[in-house]
């Protein structure tokens, strides 16, 4: 019954997916197929009561993502753009999880429908496919809350309004609003409407799929680079802060400690990277251009967008490692970016500090706070667990990936960058290369990493808990 409900929810997704305005036969067939399956499910489970428990929320979201990814792979396969199922799945998962890792090269010669489909997967995945359903479909009621909890990222799922549906609506309209503003700015910057749309979606969803093989390097205009940098940065910040700001709480961002840490880390790393790169490579291209490119690249990785403007793989080793660590950390909770999220790192560090102090002063009491609010113990445990899980999976999957990659650097970086939903890594999956060279098994491991990272582990992992399936 629960599975039925989960699949039933895929029906609207089927609609959404069957919708891309494309001249492509493949897209139509894929859309039609998805729609048919969705409707079939819908009819089959019509009688299911939509009163979702917490567990159902997990099932719906996990199965929803799995099936959406599977159906999302159909257009690539049917159009013949990608030949192996594993690679097609990889591309689809990478799109929905807004990773932006691609197996495709020579994008300029691909049909526009496929490029548009890639960008559309970003669009739906960015704020959450099922959160969109919660926002648009009235049928869920209380169930929406469970879905929201399972799909939205970050440890504190703060609701903006009493009704979950209106919160979801707000987040989505904010998201679409940002995309539109950026698209208009990019159009002004000289991009075609098509390129402007695809890149805005890829920016605000912190995805990273471009329409050009050279990614953003294909548009050398400083204006475009600055616009994209700015929107990447914004998209790496908790959307609730933006909402509050729009509502007139001008200090919302400054009051958030997560934002402060995020911004200062960003500023610090940017400054250090600009100096570092300048010293290492000299200023042959001029200070302004180097600074712009370095800042763009750091922002792109830190917000887990994954746009590439310069080959950062040629930067000094220390900087390369720093960048990968930034990818692992990711942006703020409640944003479209991936990674462990700033607030978790802050809290985890505070826990570490508390333990150090307790080692010396065992009777000392230290309440861990975020923005002046104490963090409850179970929440604390959850936060630490996510950080631990991230590291564990990065190591285990990294070890597994060594079987499919030429060196350890590639293996570890490919896992980190997919777990965080970033895209480009180091070595053989570096900024100038694609994932086409990775064997099918390796691609599937990375698919799993992307889904795990996007759904923040628990939503997917509970499915493997035997007790979870027992009545």
């Amino acid at each position: 019954m629960i599975i039925g409900a989960g699949m039933g929810l895929c029906a609207p997704l089927g609609w959404a997916m069957g919708d891309p305005p494309s001249s492509l036969y493949a897209l139509l067939v894929a859309g039609g197929l998805t729609m048919a399956v969705g409707l079939g499910m819908r009819i089959a489970v019509r009688r299911v009561v939509a009163e979702l428990t917490r567990r159902d929320g997990f099932v719906v979201v996990a199965l929803g993502w799995l099936s959406v990814s599977a159906f999302g792979a159909l257009p690539y396969l049917l159009s013949g753009v990608i030949r192996t199922p594993a690679a097609a799945l990889f591309e689809s998962v990478s799109g929905f999880t807004t990773t932006g890792a691609s197996v495709l090269s020579d994008l300029e010669h691909l049909p526009r429908g496929i490029l548009f489909w890639r960008s559309l997967t970003h669009f739906f995945g960015g704020m959450g496919v099922l959160v969109l359903c919660v926002a648009v479909l009235p049928l869920l009621g209380t169930g929406g809350m469970q879905i929201f909890r399972a799909e939205v990222t970050g440890p504190l799922k703060n609701r903006l309004t009493p009704r979950i549906a209106s919160t979801a609506k707000l987040l989505w309209s904010l998201y679409v609003g940002l995309i539109s503003v950026e698209a208009v700015l990019l159009r002004l910057g000289g991009l075609s409407w098509f390129d402007a749309w695809c890149h805005s979606v890829a920016t605000v969803a912190t995805g990273g799929f471009s329409t050009r093989t050279d990614s953003l390097a294909a548009f050398p205009s400083p204006f475009v680079q600055i616009v994209v940098t700015f929107f990447m940065l914004i998209s790496g910040v908790n959307f609730s802060l933006h909402y509050l700001w729009l509502r007139g709480a001008w200090g919302a961002h400054v009051r958030s400690s997560e934002f402060r840490v995020f911004l200062s880390t960003w500023a610090l790393v940017c400054l250090a990277a600009v100096l570092w790169v300048s010293f290492a490579h000299g200023l042959a291209e001029g200070m302004g251009r180097t600074a712009r490119e370095v800042v763009f690249q750091v922002t792109s990785l830190m917000t887990t967008t994954g746009f590439v403007i310069t080959d950062y793989d040629r930067w000094p080793n220390g900087l390369r490692l720093t960048l990968m660590l930034l990818v692992a950390v990711g942006g703020c909770a409640g944003s479209t970016s991936g990674g462990m999220k700033m607030v978790r790192i802050v809290v985890a560090l505070k826990v570490v500090f508390r333990e150090i102090r307790r080692a010396v002063l065992p009777s000392s009491v230290m309440q861990i706070k975020v923005d002046g609010e104490p963090v409850a113990d179970d929440l604390l445990a959850g936060i630490v667990a996510v950080v631990l899980m991230y590291i564990t999976i990065a190591m285990v999957a990294g070890a597994a990936m060594t079987a499919f990659t030429p060196n350890i650097e590639t293996a570890i970086s490919s896992v980190i960058t997919t777990l965080s939903g970033c895209g480009p890594g180091l070595g053989a999956v570096g900024p100038m290369l694609t994932y086409a060279g990775i064997p099918a098994a390796g691609q599937l491991i990375l698919c799993a990493c992307m889904l795990l990272g996007r759904l923040e582990f628990f939503t997917l992992l509970v499915l493997f808990l035997p007790r979870f399936w027992r009545r």
Partner: protein, 534 residues
């Protein structure tokens, strides 16, 4: 003894049809109503007019008449409370707050639930589509966080009167239109010290004990009834009656019942058989133990009861177990009627306080589960036993014991909602009441108190009785009942025109000014509202 002010939700609803504060004599007799109250008797002038600063209360939807707060009933569009923007803040996430939150949520309110206990709000937030804020509901900072500036309603229903009042004070400062407080302490409601609730920003106060006691009294007056709800200021009533083995209706279908006059004067609105809720039709055959919900003019009510339960008991004596807040409130109301009242209270101090506050009632020091005590005070077929202690299990057991000893009507207060289905399926007691549910019902009645007002949420069948005043601009005006497009699951129970209550036939043409009592299943209520509007 001063005059008490207590929430008049149920009585006032019946008598005045408007939620209001009611001045009452300590005896429990309602001596004045807040509705269209022209000149206050001298005795009521204990409540001075409000200070000038309160004159902006008109903006808050309340006005002062004759020394009483009442909420104006004018100029609110029909169905306005289902408009999407309505926002309610509930302070207190206990039993009352949780239930209220669910109900308001169903009525499309945006609900924010506030409570000091983090676990309580989290639990509620898990089940309901609401925003939960941990924090003290009397703290302006918490209330600001809950968005009090945009709230239309604040219901402070914690167990602590002080917190509730403070919340209302804050809410008034923030300009919230409707402020409701749960106030257990009747003394706090009294008009001494020139203090009255309006000053504190409380538009409507609910006393759980008074509210619940009134409900119990209604049940004792018509024993055997599962539930009685007054409609149209008491001129009509809906009653849930249990069909006894002696009922003449058992031998026939409703269609073939010989006494057609009887059928013409009432309407069957719902039928509960075990766990099933049925809609009665002409072919329905009643069975022993069925609970039949009927509506019709009040004067016909005993007639229904005679037909359903020819062997129903006549209550002459009431034994109240527990002299705490509820027991005491009930005993005082019982004293005002001509029923013999006995209060059983084990605790010496409570018993003495009880005896001090009562005039005629007999107070006996004993707990409810002592058969000796029951024998001493005497239990016979004219005795009702009401268990009102705070201990659910004790209440249930003592009622069972009383029934064994021969009491013909047993009523127990049961707070834990989990117990109620068990009690009902085992038919352990005649009736279960709860102060918590009484508060929820009273607040809901207040909240809905406009052109469309719900008179009651029925407790044993899922459904509500909603009163609609027909206005000229409503689509139903001028139409015959058989031409109306009634949503499924709604029934027009009875109508009132110029003080005359009738059970309508399909021929009746609805005119502006008519009032309709409509029975509606909960999920149909918003549908009904839109049908009325569109």
């Amino acid at each position: 003894m001063g005059h008490q002010l207590f929430s008049g939700a149920m009585a006032a609803e019946r008598e005045a049809g408007v939620p209001c504060l009611v001045g009452a004599h300590p005896s429990g007799r309602v001596i004045s109503r807040g509705y269209r109250f022209a000149g206050a008797p001298a005795a009521l002038q204990t409540f001075p007019p409000p200070p000038p600063s309160l004159n902006n209360s008109r903006r808050l939807g309340a006005s002062l008449r004759g020394g009483h707060w009442r909420v104006s009933v004018d100029n609110m569009p029909i169905g306005a409370h289902v408009a999407p923007a309505m926002k309610a803040i509930i302070v207190g996430a206990g039993n009352v707050g949780g239930n209220l939150a669910r109900k308001l949520c169903e009525e499309r309110y945006d609900v924010v639930l506030v409570d000091v206990a983090l676990s309580a709000v989290e639990k509620a937030g898990e089940r309901l589509d609401i925003l939960t804020i941990p924090g003290n509901g009397a703290d302006p900072r918490t209330l600001l966080k809950a968005g009090i500036e945009e709230a239309d309603l604040l219901a402070a229903v914690t167990a602590r009167d002080e917190v509730n009042i403070l919340s209302c004070v804050c809410a008034r400062a923030a300009g919230v239109r409707h402020k409701v407080a749960r106030l257990a302490n009747a003394a706090m409601l009294s008009g001494r010290l020139d203090l009255h609730l309006g000053d504190l920003g409380v538009d409507f106060a609910v006393s759980p004990n008074q509210e619940c006691a009134r409900e119990i009294l209604g049940l004792i007056r018509l024993p055997g009834a599962v539930e009685i709800v007054g409609l149209f200021e008491g001129r009509a009533a809906a009653a849930g009656l249990r069909v006894s083995s002696e009922s003449p209706l058992l031998r026939t279908t409703l269609k073939n019942f010989p006494d057609t006059e009887f059928l013409r004067r009432l309407r069957f609105i719902a039928l509960r058989r075990g766990d099933h809720i049925l809609t009665p039709t002409g072919d329905t055959q009643l069975m022993i133990g069925d609970e039949v919900y009927l509506a019709g003019p009040t004067d016909a009510l005993p007639t229904y009861a005679d037909v359903m339960m020819p062997d129903r008991p006549q209550i002459k004596k009431v034994i109240v177990s527990g002299g705490g807040n509820l027991g005491f409130a009930l005993a005082r109301q019982l004293e005002a009627s001509d029923l013999e009242t006995v209060v059983l209270e084990a605790d010496e101090e409570t018993a003495e306080a009880c005896s001090g506050g009562l005039r005629r009632a007999l107070v006996v020091r004993s707990d409810g589960v002592s058969s000796d005590a029951l024998r001493e005070v005497g239990v016979d077929e004219h005795t009702a036993f009401v268990a009102t202690t705070d201990d659910d299990e004790m209440n249930i057991i003592s009622c069972l014991l009383a029934e064994k000893s021969g009491a013909s009507l047993t009523i127990a207060q049961v707070i834990k909602p989990e117990y109620v289905p068990v009690i009902e399926s085992l038919s352990l007691l005649d009736r279960v009441v709860s102060t918590h549910l009484s508060v929820v019902n009273a607040v809901l009645r207040f909240v809905r108190g406009r052109n469309v007002r719900s008179m009651a949420q029925l407790q044993t069948v899922p459904g509500e009785l909603i009163e609609v005043v027909i206005r000229e601009d409503m689509p139903w005006a001028g139409k015959a009942i058989r031409d109306l497009r009634m949503p499924k699951g709604t029934i027009i129970a009875c109508t009132e025109r110029a003080g005359e209550v009738r059970v309508p036939t399909g021929d009746l043409v609805i005119q502006p000014g008519d009032r309709l009592a409509i029975y509606a299943l909960p999920e149909m209520i918003s549908r009904l509202h839109s049908v009325l509007k569109a």
